[in-house]
Symmetry: C2
Subunit: 262 residues, 2 copies
């Protein structure tokens, strides 16, 4: 029996890792993942065959996972957050589709039993750390123009602005890419107030987590790196702060409706 | 010490419940939730004080949770999926905001220590059951016009269409509401092909789960109830099927990029 588990490892803290993810990793002999994901789960990942391909070799990683599973190794293909959201899961199905189209020569892939295990994505970890930022309609936009033309991304930014969606940016910057985030900010500023709350969540739920709350006008790519989630509120999102017995508290929430405007 | 845990219980299957959610429920003396959520976790919820308010009394439920916590009861306010997504979390912060604005008379609420525990939402459970439907930019839209004017929802549907986002509908229908979903379908059909893959996921990850894959043209409110997630692919999403040793397989995936169009 050929089994491939396509497994989400969540935002970082293992207290947010689904028991099902833990189960299927434990059941696997072979793990395909970035090394840094495996480091998060040292107990679980010991005594397994690790297959660590460099960043950028995503297709090769999906192909390797299918090949291992087809060869009879119970295999877990892992990535952080939700593996179905801007991550490895879709590549597995793209490869199966290519096989069906005659573009690959791996009929054995079609005999692999596949289970996808969902997980908590960065936008959810971020929203929960600052309260309830995703309390109403929201969207996600990847700012990477490696595989999506910039004009498509730009159109989508305008749509997000027009529709007044809460927006979470994935891949906001990279070592070689830094102008897109400020352009995205400027587009959203055409549609929502400069004071709109923004969350910068870096290394969310991990030991070195940092959380910053600022305004859309203050958002700047220089404060953001590859490990940062950027979420922008909608026109009704609120940033509140107060002092209580637990000290200074700050939250961002997005109301569940537009009742105040009626 | 006054503690309020705002807890996501995930899509249904307890194998997808975060360990942190389990921990904080165990640590609580008082649970505020619909009865049906408590039924999912009989072991965990026994020997606790249950506060079960009827559907529709969401504000009262959030208020009760804050009051219990402020009175020194360690309290868990629970809802299914991700409590931060179209659920109870945002109401807690709306109440705190009302207190800060002088619209409530509960200064003791500001001394409650609040932790929000994120969870796997229905759209993620659905996407994982059919492969990788959320593989590229997506949005969520609630079709309930109880708190959001229909004209705002309609504008958002057009934005989702123009931006070619994968769209997940929350609150697609209710006992008193059934025309919105077909109107939403007709709007999206202005922007994407009639053959666009659609997922209907009912009671996702539960014992009585049903999964249907159809096309946007075939989507009809008569096949959808309050327990159904409706996700609509983008213009590039693919529905594939084949036979292998595990029988007939069907998947929907959304490619990670728009490379084919270049």
């Amino acid at each position: 029996m050929s089994a491939l588990f396509v497994v989400s490892t969540g935002p970082g803290d293992t207290a947010l890792l689904a028991p099902r993810a833990r189960e299927v990793i434990a059941a696997s002999s072979d793990l395909v993942a970035y090394g840094l994901y495996l480091d998060l789960l040292p107990d679980l990942c010991a005594d397994k065959q690790h297959h660590d391909l460099p960043l950028g070799q995503e297709i090769e990683r999906a192909r390797l996972a299918l090949n291992l599973a087809a060869a009879g190794k119970t295999t877990a293909l892992m990535s952080s957050g939700d593996i179905g959201i801007y991550a490895m899961a879709t590549l597995v199905f793209e490869l199966l589709d290519r096989q069906l189209q005659g573009l690959e020569d791996h009929p054995e892939w079609l005999d692999v039993n596949i289970e996808v295990v969902p997980g908590i994505s960065a936008m959810q970890a971020g929203a929960s750390r600052v309260g309830a930022m995703l309390g109403h309609d929201f969207c996600t936009i990847s700012l990477s123009d490696l595989l999506t033309p910039w004009q498509t991304i730009e159109k989508r930014l305008h749509s997000a602005g027009q529709g007044d969606f809460v927006v979470s940016f994935y891949n906001p910057v990279s070592k070689k890419r830094d102008w897109q985030l400020n352009t995205a900010r400027d587009i959203l500023l055409q549609y929502r107030p400069a004071a709109t709350p923004v969350l910068l969540g870096r290394q969310l739920t991990r030991d070195d987590e940092t959380i910053r709350m600022l305004t859309l006008a203050e958002l700047d790519a220089k404060d953001v790196d590859m490990f940062t989630l950027v979420s922008v509120g909608n026109s009704e999102s609120r940033h509140i702060s107060y002092s209580g017995v637990h000290g200074e508290q700050q939250w961002i929430y997005t109301p569940r409706g537009y009742r105040k405007k009626l």
